[in-house]
């Protein structure tokens, strides 16, 4: 049985998902970097939760973003894929230990978090930009958008993650 810090999850929900809505297309740098930091909420869902449950949560949060960007299904499909592979990917990227429930930055360390989050953010951004673009037309512009957006989203997620994640307690 795993213990989930519900208060922390509620904070993540507010900071990532709800904050994203007013900032959805206002947080754009140099015309290519879009900050889709809501994906941080999905990445920080506790490790080891029932996978079907988190896939449904992922789908719903993706649909919420879709409603505001008029792209029904695109963000949702990317989120479902991320939630489906995130636990397995975490076990590959970081050595698995049974009590790793909390995936916050302070708990897994900066390098551990980067190894875990950055590739998943990249996959997520690949899907949403390519599907929205309807294929690989304007390839260089598209890959620029994906590349810079991944970096921007990662930086924002890392910052919010640091601010919210609980300090390691000494026993």
């Amino acid at each position: 049985m795993i213990r989930i810090n519900h208060i922390l999850q509620a904070k993540y929900l507010a900071a990532f998902l709800l904050m994203q809505i007013p900032l959805l297309y206002r947080l754009v740098f140099f015309d290519v970097a879009f900050g889709f930091f809501y994906v941080g909420y999905i990445l920080l869902l506790p490790h080891g939760t029932n996978r079907s449950l988190i896939m449904v949560i992922g789908m719903l949060s993706g649909l919420l973003i879709d409603v505001f960007s008029s792209t029904p299904g695109i963000h949702a499909s990317a989120c479902v894929l991320i939630t489906f592979i995130k636990d397995s990917w975490y076990n590959v990227a970081n050595e698995h230990s049974e009590d790793d429930v909390d995936l916050s930055v302070n708990a897994v360390g900066l390098w551990g978090f980067t190894k875990y989050a950055l590739p998943l953010i990249f996959i997520h951004h690949c899907i949403i930009f390519i599907v929205e673009n309807g294929g690989l037309i304007n390839f260089w512009m598209l890959s620029g958008k994906i590349f810079y957006s991944t970096i921007l989203s990662f930086i924002i997620i890392l910052t919010i993650g640091y601010l919210l994640s609980p300090r390691k307690q000494r026993i």
């Binding site: 297309y25 008029s70 029904p72 949702a76 499909s77 479902v80 304007n138 598209l142």
Partner: protein, 269 residues
């Protein structure tokens, strides 16, 4: 049978994954239809109210710029009123065909590869899917779906929107569509090579569409390419509308659209 149930049970997570992805794919494909009554977009009342609130905050800081835009538009309208030929003044059948409904843009994107905007008018103001949307400076899009008080508009900066247009100087029919690159430029297609196309020509909406009134400005030709093997020119226009600072728009309703469409459909059958 038992084996089948066992199999399904063992792969239930993967099954759910497939089901959810298929559901998403269905949503994506279904949304590609030109007009729909989807509630999963920005004309959804709840979503639009939230967009409106955040846009209101943003507009507060842009009041000076908005004022200036409206003043400029006023000036243009005054100008055209003065220069208007008297012959049209009493001609009600021309005047009465199109009506404009004023609207505020409460959500607008221009850096994506498919751009949409949200307006604060809906069914109650008489807006219906398929109507044209213009601003003070030119064409900006076409209504995609409406709710009670809001509507989602396909921006001209959307690769699926084609606007039937003409070159003002030569009266040549052509098509304007966006190529997904820059929010200040679009492409002009299907201008035959025997026409003398020049940089600086105005491109306006044509008489042949039932979406926009004829003669609405779209852009000015900025680049003309001639390729030996092509039948048509490859040309680009600078859009006259600045999509990065849209605040007000007008939804155009055409009283004779139903009549024109049914007549044209009759011919096609």
């Amino acid at each position: 049978m038992r084996n089948l149930l066992d199999f399904l049970y063992r792969y239930r997570t993967f099954g759910l994954f497939i089901v959810l992805e298929v559901l998403c794919a269905w949503l994506i494909i279904q949304y590609n239809n030109r007009y729909n009554a989807s509630f999963l977009n920005s004309s959804n009342t709840l979503a639009a109210s939230i967009s409106q609130a955040s846009q209101n905050t943003e507009n507060y800081f842009k009041l000076q710029q908005i004022n200036k835009q409206l003043l400029e538009e006023n000036e243009r309208l005054k100008d055209s009123l003065i220069n208007r030929p008297l012959i049209y003044a009493g001609n009600d059948s021309i005047k009465a065909r199109y009506h404009a409904t004023k609207a505020r843009v409460i959500n607008n994107t221009y850096r994506r590869s498919m751009n949409f905007m949200t307006l604060d008018v809906g069914q109650q103001a008489g807006v219906a899917p398929g109507m044209g949307v213009i601003s003070g400076t030119g064409v900006i899009g076409q209504v995609k779906s409406v709710s009670q008080n809001f509507s989602t508009v396909i921006s001209l900066l959307h690769r699926n929107l084609m606007v039937s247009s003409t070159l003002k100087r030569t009266n040549t029919i052509c098509t304007v569509s966006w190529d997904g690159l820059s929010p200040i430029q679009a492409e002009v297609k299907f201008v035959p090579k025997h026409i003398d196309l020049q940089v600086g020509d105005s491109v306006v909406t044509s008489d042949y569409n039932s979406v926009f009134p004829p003669g609405i400005m779209i852009g000015i030709v900025s680049e003309v390419n001639v390729k030996e093997e092509d039948v048509y020119y490859g040309a680009r226009i600078d859009l006259t509308t600045d999509f990065t600072s849209l605040t007000y728009a007008y939804v155009i309703s055409d009283d004779l659209k139903a009549e024109q469409d049914s007549l044209e459909n009759l011919l096609e059958q």
